[in-house]
């Protein structure tokens, strides 16, 4: 294990642990961002420069910001003594058991040998693939994102029967 990897792993796991354990929801969102930045750095060390930057652009720039924005919009639901699940001990036990199982399976499995030539992740290569073999998934993702955009706007819209909304046609703009 190399030192940079150990540091990054500590950053990722520490951030993730803090994100799921801390009581303040805003801190949880910020720790999530920290953890995902660490993960993006791991991606960079895996020679996936493009993916690492996209990861930060989408997760830190959009998802983390959306999460803290949603926390701000729903202020007032702050419950200082959040109830944990029915049996938090069981949840922790299950998580540890899953990790132990995965670790056992991973260490005992044999993986195919890595190829000698590490291919570089070029943007041109990614674009080429997207436009040839993966053009149908690409279209599907476009449709999904459009549907999610419209759906999110519709869901988050206040109910139309709300009498508090003022009439807009006298807007002196």
């Amino acid at each position: 294990m190399t030192l940079p990897f150990a540091l990054l792993a500590g950053l990722v796991l520490g951030g993730a642990l803090a994100a799921v354990t801390c009581r303040e929801r805003v801190h949880a969102g910020l720790f999530l961002a920290l953890s995902l930045v660490g993960l993006a750095l791991v991606f960079l060390r895996l020679d996936a420069e493009f993916i690492g930057f996209v990861q930060i652009l989408v997760y830190v720039g959009a998802v983390a910001v959306l999460i803290v924005f949603a926390i701000l919009l729903t202020r007032g639901a702050e419950n200082p003594r959040e109830r944990l699940g029915n049996s938090p001990g069981f949840g922790i036990l299950l998580a540890v058991a899953v990790f132990a199982l995965l670790a056992w399976a991973l260490t005992s499995a044999s993986f195919p040998k890595a190829s000698e030539t590490a291919a570089a992740l070029t943007v041109r290569g990614v674009g080429d693939r997207l436009m040839r073999e993966y053009v149908l998934p690409l279209q599907a993702i476009g449709l999904l994102l459009t549907a999610a955009l419209i759906g999110a706007a519709v869901i988050a819209l206040p109910a139309p029967t709300n009498p508090a909304t003022p009439p807009t046609n006298h807007d002196p703009e």
């Binding site: 996936a48 996209v54 989408v58 729903t74 699940g85 949840g91 195919p112 291919a119």
Partner: protein, 103 residues
Amino acid sequence: MSPLLLHLLLAAALFSIGLGGALIRRNAIVVLISIELMLNAANLNFLAFWRYGPEPEALNGPLFVLFAIAVAAAEAAVGLALIIAIYRRYQTHQLEDISRLKG
């Protein structure tokens, strides 16, 4: 330990943390954060297998991660919109309080 195994173990640990968070916490937003962590653990696996796998020329791992990031962004947007709508209706974030459909 090989670098592949190290990355896979890191992903497994990240996944377990996310799983634990999703099981224990009852706050909708924290549960969403936990789900994001689990998704990212899967992404790390894809990239590790691509980088240290037998045929890195195929670029299948990174492309899958790209698609997964796009889906995760859509999921976060819809999930947070749902949380805001639920908050408007029930004034709560606690998943246990939203139990109207329970018999």
